[in-house]
């Protein structure tokens, strides 16, 4: 079985925009080159996003030319019922998916880390499948499944589909957190008279909480971004934001889309940065020891 945590996904380079600060050392070419190299790589990754943000303030409706600063697109966005409806759908899906996957994923991770049961290896392997299988295959498989069970496509099928592909990510992240878990802490709590619920609530949960939160935030970002799977399983009244934007391509994307993308980007980046922090900082209360 592969190491838990090998697919530890929040390793996105958010929050590390600047090259590592050089310590007071004599000048070295290697270090300077590395710094420049990093800078170029980060520019390559982030300049397009910065341009998108910049153009959401562009007065011109044409995407190409800069004609001055305006907040018009943001105010128009507030009156664009179609985009707002899509944003609402996306938020309903993402929040529900996050709630469900966080609970189920955490339970799965606990079961896999703590218990021995028949089919454990198979369960573990199955857990990685939605992460590894191409999205388009997951989408096609799900729509076939919904057809087979005669479940009509709607916002519910979108939520079910998102839960399917997000739950693995949560489980894997929480599992990674549990891998470094010192069981003697729980034993100590039990020795000192804590019941199972108290032990869980006051010892186990605080220690794995950063992992759970990171998993939840990851699920949220994956869900709100998803186009491929959603496009397969969306039904009546389930036009999410990514689908809305793609459908607008036929008549030309307006700067309102830049504006809504910018807002969404800010939320996503903030959430990922938060997720990273949660993963890195051992909880003060839990006092994780190695």
């Amino acid at each position: 079985m592969s190491e838990p945590g090998r697919l530890d996904l929040p390793e996105r380079p958010v929050g590390r925009l600047a090259p590592a600060p050089a310590r007071a050392k004599p000048f070295s070419w290697e270090r300077a080159l590395l710094g420049w190299h990093s800078l170029v790589v980060y520019l390559f990754l982030y300049v397009p996003i910065l341009i998108l943000i910049l153009y959401s303030f562009n007065r011109s409706k044409q995407t190409a030319a800069w004609e001055g600063f305006t907040l018009e697109w943001y105010s128009r966005l507030l009156h664009n019922e179609l985009i707002l409806r899509a944003v609402k759908n996306s938020l309903v899906v993402a929040l529900t998916t996050t709630a469900v996957t966080t609970i189920v994923g955490t339970l799965v991770a606990l079961a896999l880390a703590r218990r021995n049961f028949g089919g454990k290896a198979a369960t573990q392997a199955a857990l990685y499948l939605p992460v590894i299988i191409p999205e388009i295959v997951v989408g096609a498989a799900l729509v076939t499944f919904f057809g087979a069970v005669q479940m009509r496509l709607s916002l519910v099928t979108v939520i079910v589909a998102h839960v399917v592909f997000c739950v693995s990510y949560v489980a894997i992240v929480v599992r990674a957190r549990l891998a470094g878990f010192d069981r003697s802490l729980e034993e100590a709590a039990a020795d000192l008279g804590a019941g199972p619920w108290d032990t869980f609530r006051r010892v186990t949960l605080p220690i794995i909480l950063p992992g759970i939160l990171a998993g939840a935030l990851l699920a949220f970002t994956l869900s709100i971004d998803d186009y491929v799977i959603t496009s397969f399983v969306a039904g009546v009244g389930a036009t999410t934001l990514p689908i809305q934007i793609y459908s607008m391509l036929k008549v030309g994307v307006t700067p309102e889309v830049n504006a809504v993308s910018t807002l969404l980007l800010l939320v996503t980046v903030a959430l990922i940065a938060l997720a990273q922090r949660m993963q890195q900082e051992p909880s003060a209360k839990g006092g994780k020891k190695k």
């Binding site: 919904f146 479940m151 869980f200 496009s231 039904g235 009546v236 459908s247």
Partner: protein, 353 residues
């Protein structure tokens, strides 16, 4: 002891899941009522006020979702569990949907406003006698160009002129691109003679060195941005950028002739609100309502009496409503059967060059 915890969490999880399930399921339940209609349509094809009026008049609750390609629509209908009552596929997709039995035959007796439709857009090869579909919008595939820089242009030959090297955009669409080459050779875009097609392929292979990009998505924006001077494209999007810079850009249906495209209203085979779909289709074929749609989204409809109510800026715009002699030199794309395989092969050779 841990069992209790697990059970508690499981209950919580289950509770959360069913709760959200119920909440999101409401619209699904409503769809089963007699009073609703679910439309699946292209973006910017149906003004909201038309939907609102229809709902106010009939009490039918209308919901609509958007798709970005004919293929997305096909996939959705193939699932067998998409709850749509009205869809708007393009001509070639109508043929596929009929063959796959995904749309149902139309009862013309329920559509008294059928008489409003222009016979020039009826009874086409993809759906003889309009047994399954009715025209919604139509248009041409022509040439958008920078008139300010190039002066007036009226021929597809400009797309093969070495002096425009690197300033040419072609649609990323096999049939459309072959159509251009065939038209310059004086042939039909539904040509099936392998020798003629080979000649067309040779011409397109040579042309590739001049082409900056093959693009079917935002060709109009690329033209407007000045990245190319000549763009092969659909009239709707190009008309939109031309309207913003009428002194600089222009759209022309070249003198050799071009493709006519048409998007059509169909009722999916699995629709559960068939009667409401008929009511809506007949409603949007009423002259005034149809004119309202055209005025709202700037595409040409096939409705004759509606023209009386269409604003002159749209009715008089030759890139939206081309004059009769232009329509006369255009053709619909037809199914070319096995020739598609040969075209595919040539197209791969061109693109892989």
């Amino acid at each position: 002891m841990r069992k209790i915890v697990a059970a508690a969490l499981a209950t919580l999880a289950l509770g959360a899941f069913t709760a959200c399930g119920k909440k999101a399921e409401e619209p699904k339940a409503a769809a089963a009522d007699a009073g609703s209609l679910n439309i699946y349509i292209w973006s910017a094809y149906l003004p909201q006020e038309v939907i609102d009026q229809f709902s106010a008049q009939t009490g039918i609750k209308v919901r609509f979702d958007l798709y970005d390609s004919n293929e997305a629509l096909l996939e959705k209908l193939q699932s067998g569990v998409a709850d749509y009552d009205l869809v708007v596929p393009s001509d070639y997709m109508v043929r596929i949907l009929i063959a796959e039995k995904l749309v149902q035959p139309l009862d013309h007796a329920k559509l008294p406003n059928f008489k409003n439709l222009d016979p020039r857009f009826l009874d086409k090869e993809f759906d003889p006698k309009n047994a399954y579909s009715l025209p919604y919008f139509w248009g041409t595939t022509g040439l958008g160009y920078n008139e300010e820089k190039l002066g007036p242009i009226d021929s597809w030959e400009s797309l093969f002129d070495p002096k425009h090297k690197g300033r040419i955009l072609m649609l990323d669409d096999m049939r459309e691109v072959f159509g251009v080459a065939l038209k310059t050779m004086g042939k039909s875009l539904n040509e099936t003679d392998p020798a003629v097609l080979k000649q067309a392929a040779e011409k397109l292979k040579k042309q590739k060195a001049l082409v900056a990009t093959y693009n079917s998505g935002d060709f109009a924006n690329i033209l407007a941005a000045g990245d190319v001077d000549l763009a092969h494209g659909y009239n709707g999007q190009i008309a939109e950028v031309v309207a913003k810079e009428p002194d600089k850009l222009a759209y022309v249906v070249p003198k050799e002739g071009a493709t006519l495209w048409m998007d059509n209203v169909c009722i999916p085979a699995k629709s559960r609100n068939v009667e409401n779909a008929y009511k809506f289709i007949d409603y949007i074929m009423e002259a005034k309502v149809n004119a309202q749609i055209v005025n709202g989204v700037s595409y040409a409809s096939a409705n004759v009496p509606a023209r009386e109510f269409i604003v002159p800026e749209i009715l008089g715009d030759p890139s939206i409503y081309p004059p009769d002699e232009v329509i006369a030199r255009c053709e619909f794309m037809e199914d070319v059967g096995d020739t598609t395989t040969l075209l595919d092969q040539f197209w791969t050779e061109i693109k892989a060059q």
